[in-house]
Symmetry: C2
Subunit: 388 residues, 2 copies
């Protein structure tokens, strides 16, 4: 096991009818003026907007608001929000939405008190040392952004979907009420499941030996996510399954299953970011295409880990280690098909001819990969495996 430092300062308030606590939590912490950030109309339809605003008013929290955050959130909106924060002396950012809204909020929180363009953090010219505090309300479980210090934003004019992370970016508070996810479109639940499982797998595919307890946690999150995703496809308003699903998505990327490891291998995320930067497909859909192809390309680097995955998650016990490893990857792909997530570029309407441009885009970040270092040609080969 590797040495590690671990702390996660985010407070989570989880459960039914908890969103109305947002105002009193802000008041308790002495915050008086906030920017509320959200995406499209869903928070108006499911009552979340009204609950948040009423709670602000009940606790004398002054607020301004900004909507329109999109999936694969863009830099231009982040910059617009930063201007608002400066103009209005905003003290905290309140993302009300899913990962895109949270990720935008983090970039805004860092940029609002930085004397320079916020993209400096993304292209490595500056490091995030401080940020406005973030008090969020999660309405879509998938990215884990509600309890970590990561943010991914897209710079459209250069087709760059890049990430930052830092201690200052952990939300001070996240409220997770699974009931508001009852009304999600099925596709968003499916995308969330794929995102959660891929986060866990990218930590699982790691060369450090002997972190048994983290393997156990990882396998537990995947089994639980799969079980409850299947329930939710038929019963989107099953509370216990929504709750299990939501908490698994948070646990998948809040650091609790990463301790003692080497940091994982995030190649699938980097390659997927090229897909969603160039084709604006849902992140989860991109991952169900890329991860199995990546796994097939690299599994020989650590057959034992993939064989263990097959056994613990899919109860595959027959065959050699290599046969089990391959059967496990195939079983994951089959499960993605079963829940209705694409497993090939073709199914996502991305043409075979796009592979070169996708590889060029992903390779901007390269070489990358812990299990196997990937260069442009490796990315091309992986995308070919993902083609159809």
């Amino acid at each position: 096991m590797r040495n590690f430092d671990y702390v996660n300062p985010t407070k989570v308030i989880f459960g039914k009818e908890t969103i109305n606590r947002i105002g009193s939590e802000l008041k308790h912490d002495g915050i008086k003026k906030v920017l509320m950030l959200y995406g499209k109309s869903s928070i108006f339809n499911n009552g979340v907007y009204d609950t948040v605003v009423t709670s602000f008013k009940d606790n004398n929290i002054e607020y301004i608001e900004l909507g329109g955050v999109k999936p694969n959130p863009v830099l231009s909106l982040v910059e617009e929000a930063i201007e608002k924060c400066r103009t209005h002396n905003i003290e905290a950012i309140i993302p009300v939405g899913g990962g895109s809204v949270y990720d935008s909020a983090k970039a805004i929180a860092a940029g609002a008190i930085y004397d320079g363009p916020v993209w400096d953090f993304f292209d490595g010219k500056a490091r995030v040392k401080k940020a406005l505090p973030i008090y969020g309300v999660l309405t879509l479980s998938a990215t884990g952004s509600e309890m970590n210090g990561n943010s991914v934003v897209t710079k459209r004019d250069e087709d760059k979907k890049w990430a930052i992370s830092g201690k200052a970016l952990y939300p001070a508070l996240s409220i997770i009420d699974p009931t508001v996810q009852f009304s999600l479109p099925r596709s968003q639940t499916i995308n969330g499941a794929v995102d959660t499982i891929t986060h866990v797998m990218e930590l699982y595919c790691d060369k450090t030996p002997a972190v048994d307890i983290m393997k156990e946690y990882s396998e537990g999150i995947i089994r639980t996510t799969m079980k409850h995703t299947e329930v939710l496809i038929d019963q989107p308003d099953n509370y216990d399954s929504r709750a299990e699903f939501a908490w698994c998505a948070t646990l998948a990327l809040n650091g609790s299953n990463g301790t003692g490891r080497s940091g994982g291998d995030w190649s699938s995320h980097v390659i997927e970011h090229a897909l969603s930067a160039l084709y604006d497909i849902a992140h989860g859909a991109g991952l169900s295409i890329v991860f199995p192809a990546w796994a097939k390309y690299v599994y020989k680097e650590d057959v034992a880990t993939f064989a263990r995955f097959a056994e613990k998650v899919f109860a595959i016990t027959d065959g050699s280690e290599e046969e089990k490893a391959l059967a496990g990857i195939e079983a994951l792909k089959d499960w993605y098909k079963k829940i209705g997530s694409p497993v090939s570029l073709k199914e996502a309407n991305i043409p075979y001819e796009a592979i070169d441009a996708l590889a060029d885009n992903a390779a901007m970040n390269g070489p990358f990969g812990a299990m196997k270092e990937l260069h442009r040609q490796d990315i091309v080969e992986i995308l070919k495996l993902a083609a159809k």
Copy 2:
């Protein structure tokens, strides 16, 4: 799943050669004068004392020290330390030791800035709202005190071994270097394993349905603890096993496997506290006697949970649910025997005639128990099951 609030503010620094970071962490947080608290001579023998003191000196941290904390730590030493803190204007408490030292440090931290006797917190006359910060160095993994807000202290003149808990009691920092546990007596490793497994089981035996992910985490901690305890009995200096064991002990009681549950059933701990209050036996040894007896007494309240435990931890798949439940409890008892922990009062030299006095002592806290409410007569019956 139940609603919950979750936050764990403790920073953990984990791994080889990390203890020398204690001074710089204090300095970084602006702390200049501390009370260093420890138990017996072990920290002098294994070099930990020198490492801590050198780190203090290197960072200009002024310190006073107090040794002599005993297993089942007593109120009198806590009171002595509180006086020292007041006299010397101490800013932080530095427990260097195991759970007893940590638990004492928490009582001291709360008592030092409370205008009244510290026992007020234990007998419910006052609640802990603030405390001096705690920066600890863990040298014995068992209680989980290094990453939670709980403390258990014994008032010898009244034979009361009672607990407090509170947000203010979470350590600000715990440093866990598994290498310093290489030299532990075998019995302390065994006691630690029993304590860890019992903590997990007391959360596991809980009536809330549908917290699959917490069951998964619990089973993972137990399987990993058992695997590496067996390694450590033969190879006490196996680093990876010490590390897995240490991290499992922390995770068992840091709240990470308690979310969404009802809070568990801590009856075995309450009954064990009577054993160690009256007979001063090791806490782990008391638990390996009490827990299996308690489980046999209550399993009918939730056969499914005990059957699941049998299946997931001991791979017991034959028989009815009830047969599996009973076989799982017996398998745990057998495993405790195998590692050399007592499973009867007799083996711990506690006479059958003591049962009445033990039941009287435990019943002072009663009735208690979530899975089944226990009154004095129930405790007598459980102790009879534990007799031989």
